[in-house]
């Protein structure tokens, strides 16, 4: 078994570390700081932490005002509340005037688990990706989360970074290495984890681990399946996606999100216009979801390594 680690904790720790060196960082939360882990920042820098209470519209607006005066706000709450209750404010008060606000949400996708459908947001990536000027990042594990959060400090403009609730398997080694090789996180990039010949799985968030396991299992069937960690949904690393399409001829996307409009949507749009390629999307299929443990939900809604393997077999059965 692969070791797992909490991306939320990695976020909270990294924020504190960044706060030491960047006096312009301020952190805002909407009464979920113990869940999002921004309480760590609040403890260390109480004067730079603002809890607005259960008021997500105000959360976004206050961040906009701070950013327009030169601060670098990190805004956190659950994805469902940020995107569904703060969307109008994110759009008009932050993205449209191109303000430097980083919205880092936790509890993305079905990884929320037992709280159920009221707390799932299976369309946040679709919504945020369609907003102009907005960068959308979904790290694969705790190590990549740390890198992604750091990169947000150098990035200018509105950004949305989505983390799961669950502790998920580690993809990367300490300091952002893969099989001993040191990597560099670049917004707008992606990481080719496995080279393939027969198909490629483009995965994001906790589904990257599932994709790696699927690739390993399929090797036993004699298939060489590539795996790409698409950590930035927008701007999408189009070159890598198109290369994978040309090289392996069959693509599968995998995400803890609706199959509409997220990674699967982005890849489908790109392929349809630039390089029509057989594609299968692994994700939640137009459902709100139900309560259960996150592993059970991943099973029930088709988000496991096994489902990815099946999708690879199916897509290879499609005509090229």
């Amino acid at each position: 078994m692969r070791p797992s680690a909490s991306m939320r904790e990695a976020y909270g720790r990294t924020l504190v570390e960044l706060g030491e060196r960047h006096p312009e960082i301020v952190v805002l939360d909407a009464d979920l700081s113990t869940s999002t882990q921004t309480f760590l920042f609040a403890k260390r820098f109480p004067e730079r932490f603002f809890n607005v209470g259960v008021a997500e519209a105000n959360l976004m607006g206050v961040a906009a005002g701070l950013a327009s005066c030169g601060k670098l706000p990190f805004v956190s709450t659950f994805s469902v509340f940020a995107t569904e209750k703060g969307l109008s404010q994110f759009k008009q008060s932050i993205a449209y005037p191109n303000l430097n606000v980083k919205v880092v949400v936790t509890h993305g996708g079905l990884s929320v688990g037992e709280d159920g459908a009221s707390h799932f947001c299976l369309w946040d990536l679709a919504v945020m990706r369609s907003l102009p000027r907005t960068t959308v990042i979904v790290p694969a594990d705790a190590v990549e989360t740390e890198q992604a959060v750091r990169s947000l400090v150098r990035h200018r403009g509105p950004a949305f970074l989505r983390l799961p609730r669950a502790k998920t398997g580690l993809v990367y080694g300490e300091g952002y290495t893969y099989r001993g090789e040191r990597l560099e996180f670049r917004i707008g990039g992606s990481v080719v984890l496995e080279e393939g010949e027969d198909a490629t799985v483009l995965a994001t968030g906790p589904m990257v681990v599932e994709a790696l396991e699927a690739s390993e299992a399929l090797r036993k069937e004699g298939l060489r399946v590539g795996v790409v960690d698409v950590h930035t949904l927008k701007p999408l690393d189009e070159r890598t996606v198109l290369e994978a399409a040309s090289r392996t001829g069959f693509l599968v996307t995998a995400e803890d999100h609706s199959i509409f409009g997220g990674l699967g949507g982005a890849v489908a749009e790109l392929l349809a216009e630039r390089r029509p390629t057989p594609l299968k999307r692994v994700g939640v299929k137009d459902e709100f979801g139900k309560s259960g443990s996150w592993r059970e939900l991943y099973e029930a809604y088709g988000l496991t390594s096994r489902h990815i393997q099946q999708a690879v077999r199916e897509v290879r059965g499609m005509a090229r």
């Binding site: 519209a57 607006g61 206050v62 005002g65 701070l66 950013a67 327009s68 030169g70 008009q92 449209y96």
Partner: protein, 283 residues
């Protein structure tokens, strides 16, 4: 750097005459702009013209040559649909050429149908979807306090806008944070889009609501320039809580046939009506 900074000037008859002149120009501009554009919101532009005149030509500190000057006071037009009046005031203050006004709402114009800080010099926040300005003002006021700056933040809202929940989220937050560098101004013209505020969703007792939310409340005649100026000055002396001015105004103020008429909320004047209106406004 030429900073506009006249707030310490006494409210002499000559100052008040000057502010009255500016308000007249803001009204004339707002009507001409919306008629030329063929759309826009004249009624609510006229109701806040006097408030904008006192702010931009007496109370606020700013540098039109350097709109990003960090020490400037911030003004947010949360009722963004009244931007013809704001654009007029900004042009008179020297943020951009007067000629721009006639381009309102045209493709390629820096003057968008609703204010956008990334399009227009001097515009501090993007608004239009109502209810959002006070939160932004809270953020600016917090930043001013963190940076130990003297600037003050002003947010002009409509009374119909008070229906929005976000206004009250921000109101609670501002008093909790003791943002005494923040001033809200409510253009209490008693009309919103579909009709009269008290018939749609009654707001009264509005002063008591703001007081209950922890604000210092000042009620003024929003067309009495001296009262408005004094209330803005007075707010600077109030410590530990934000201040809100409830400005009693008349929608369409200054043009007899527009006053208190729901119709002119979002309907520009015809050419003939415009001629009559400009005649009444004089100047």
């Amino acid at each position: 750097m030429v900073v506009f900074d006249r707030k310490s000037e006494p409210h002499t008859p000559s100052l008040l005459r000057e502010l009255e002149e500016k308000a007249r120009t803001i009204r004339r501009d707002s009507l001409i702009m919306t008629t030329e554009a063929g759309s826009g919101h004249p009624g609510g532009s006229l109701s806040c013209a006097d408030l904008l005149s006192v702010l931009y030509f007496h109370h606020l500190r700013y540098d039109p040559a350097n709109p990003a000057w960090e020490g400037r006071d911030r003004f947010i037009l949360s009722k963004g649909h009244a931007c013809p009046a704001l654009y007029s005031a900004l042009s008179l203050a020297g943020f951009f050429p007067r000629e721009w006004l006639r381009t309102l709402r045209r493709l390629g114009s820096p003057l968008q149908g609703h204010p956008d800080s990334s399009s227009t010099p001097g515009v501090e926040a993007s608004t239009g979807s109502l209810g959002q300005g006070l939160s932004i003002g809270c953020g600016m006021a917090l930043a001013g306090r963190l940076d130990r700056r003297e600037y003050r933040v002003y947010v002009l809202m409509g009374d119909g806008e008070m229906d929005e929940g976000q206004v009250w989220e921000a109101a609670m937050f501002a008093s909790h944070q003791r943002l005494d560098n923040l001033v809200g101004i409510v253009d209490r013209n008693r009309i919103q889009l579909d009709g009269f505020t008290e018939e749609i969703v009654g707001l009264e007792p509005l002063a008591e609501k703001w007081r209950a939310f922890g604000w210092n409340v000042v009620e003024v005649d929003g067309h009495d320039l001296r009262q408005v100026a004094e209330a803005l000055d007075g707010a600077e002396g109030v410590k530990g809580k934000p201040t809100v001015l409830l400005a009693r105004t008349v929608k369409g103020k200054g043009v007899s046939f527009m006053e208190n008429q729901v119709k002119y909320h979002g309907t520009p004047l015809t050419r003939e009506e415009l001629e009559r209106a400009l005649g009444e406004l004089g100047g």
